[in-house]
Symmetry: C2
Subunit: 343 residues, 2 copies
DNA sequence: CACCAAGATGTTTACGCAAACATGGAACCG
DNA sequence: CGGTTCCATGTTTGCGTAAACATCTTGGTG
């Protein structure tokens, strides 16, 4: 294996001038070659490329950015990488950004307080980014004190951020409707709901849609059960629900809570889906291997990521473009955790 | 909510010169204030800060980097965010980097080929980073064609990268030993192993250590079962193992494969842990809520992240510092999926 | 009171790159 | 064959910042 040496002593990073000297041309010609412009003689180009190779020349991003005002980098502000949705979204955004020849600058914020979000903005605007994607439970965006730094285009993912922002989001309401309607169509009379935390807009969208779907079917929704996305909270509610024999269908706002609920039902000796049907949300890795395999709602993170980057780059190119909101549809994935109620 | 306006038309981003003009000082004084240097009169400093506030001045990172040669940014090269370990490690690295006042530039590589890794390097060295953390199954680092770009300090995580690199990694061997020894100490005679893919160094370390532990106990290891980290592959092997009644203990190289194996055993009507005990690796979210809750090996990603950043920044400050390797110990988390074999 | 030290502030310069403009030579035209 | 075009290449300049150096002010000292 080649040895991972650093640069040789005294060998500072070569600049265009160094390359130019070696190739016997002006630095401007090196610049042209470096940027792939057309008006360069083939022989000259070859000589310059050769010199670059020899010296190990790499363009200096800082200088380039200073000159052009563009960094080809976008910032991503997000809470810590704890929830599946955030991770998948980040993955999609990063992949898409790289595809569009942009780098991704990660700005994790330690806790979801207004202060730390603002802090992230400070760092962001001091940093070298052309725009930013905010992956965030958006409660905080609705506060008056919260002002975006001027001059930085932003796209918000996963939120109920008011008008004035460009928003891309999964159609949470559709997903919850699919889940609830699926259980109703199997013949269940009531569908219980283990919701996500109050601070989350996604959770709010899902529970509102669950409630609306039931009401539209002429069914009075049972009391909402508040969880916090963790399997543990699903387990807690699962224990309570499993002890009642009038509970036959549960819609959990994410797969982990569904997992916890199923564990509780197992412990109580209740059959899934025989006694109780369960639907989750996210289609996390492994959901197909839960016991039983979980019926769940799949989000199209890839599309969310692609749209976000595309819209962001549009806004970078034309900051005056009007904000808009886009929702991406979900899919219901039917597996073995749902069945008609016992007659 | 405040309207998310962009900058006013014609209002380019203010520079130090603008601030200086408004405050009636030289731009150098603004620089001093901006960098918190001491030799500035209190009144002057206040006036400058005031002007900064008024104009909404933010230092230009590109110019600063061009001048200082430091970007306060580190690159992270990794395969897509699909595996839990990668995600957790990234989270830890990012958190730690921000803590050290560095930004994190994400460089995902689309597929684990030598070509795309090299491509990432190209982009990296063209980008504005002081150093890089490589989170990677390290097979590729051992290829002769693979040369690091000179002058960029690198720390490698999760690998068997040869000498010459600075490496930080979880003590995979320890974890596998803990898992295997736990099953042996419960009285199991043979421990079967569902391994990760051949291309993974982590997988190799885990299976080698599993084998070594058995041999040290005077037990001939059963044939190794090759998986690919997915629950599906665990399920496949679980079906095969569950059909033999001489199988009482399984060590899966990650939690998802353990999950799949358990599902297979459930389907076959074999009790876990009554008939078969299972140990996983990773302690993923929800592992405590599997049915049954999974005994597993927990990695200390936070420490890995912290050490990586610290070592990397050390190398940035002093590129001549000698490479070394550090391993971080694991913990065995004992839950309900393991028990003594039936007598 | 001349002189000096120390601190505050200003001026110059260079970082590496690329746009804008300048130059020089070859090909083409009537 | 004089003039016009076009293309390859060179020269100048400035992006925003901060180090290095220069200058000015203030107060204290012999």
């Amino acid at each position: 294996m080649t040895s991972p040496r650093g640069s040789r002593p005294g060998t500072a990073r070569p600049s265009m001038a160094d390359v130019a000297r070696l190739a016997g041309v002006s630095s401007q010609t090196v610049s042209r070659v470096s940027n792939g412009q057309a008006n360069v003689d083939e022989a000259t180009r070859a000589r310059v490329l050769d010199a670059m190779q020899t010296l190990g020349y790499r363009p200096n991003g800082a200088a380039r950015a200073l000159k052009s005002g563009r960094f080809h980098t976008i910032g991503v502000i997000m809470t810590t990488l704890q929830t599946l949705g955030n991770i998948r979204t980040l993955d999609a955004v990063a992949t898409e950004a790289v595809h569009a020849d942009n780098a991704v600058l990660l700005m994790p914020i330690p806790d979801p307080t207004l202060r730390s979000v603002s802090g992230a903005y400070q760092r962001l605007s001091a940093q070298a980014v052309d725009g930013a994607v905010i992956i965030l439970e958006a409660r905080f965006l609705d506060r008056a004190e919260f002002a975006l730094p001027p001059g930085i285009p932003v796209v918000v993912i996963d939120s109920g951020a008011g008008p004035g922002y460009t928003v891309v989001d999964t159609d949470q309401a559709l997903g919850a409707r699919q889940a609830t309607a699926h259980l109703l169509s199997l013949g269940h009379r009531r569908v219980w709901h283990v919701a996500g935390p109050e601070t989350s807009f996604s959770a709010a969208h899902r529970s509102e849609s669950w409630e609306g779907t039931l009401r539209a079917a002429g069914i009075e929704p049972p009391p909402l059960l508040r969880g916090d996305w963790t399997a543990e909270s699903g387990y807690r509610h699962g224990l309570a629900l499993g002890r009642r024999d009038d509970v036959t269908a549960i819609f959990a706002a994410n797969d982990e809570m569904a997992l916890g609920a199923m564990r509780a039902l197992h412990e109580l000796g209740r059959a899934v889906p025989g006694d109780v049907s369960i639907v989750g949300f996210d289609d996390m890795d492994g959901a197909a291997s839960f016991w039983p395999p979980l019926t769940t709602v799949r989000q199209d993170f890839a599309t969310v990521g692609r749209l976000s980057i595309r819209k962001l780059l549009d806004r970078v190119a034309d900051p005056a473009s009007p904000p808009d909101t886009t929702v991406v549809p979900t899919d219901l994935v039917i597996r073995a955790s749902t069945a008609p109620p016992r007659p």
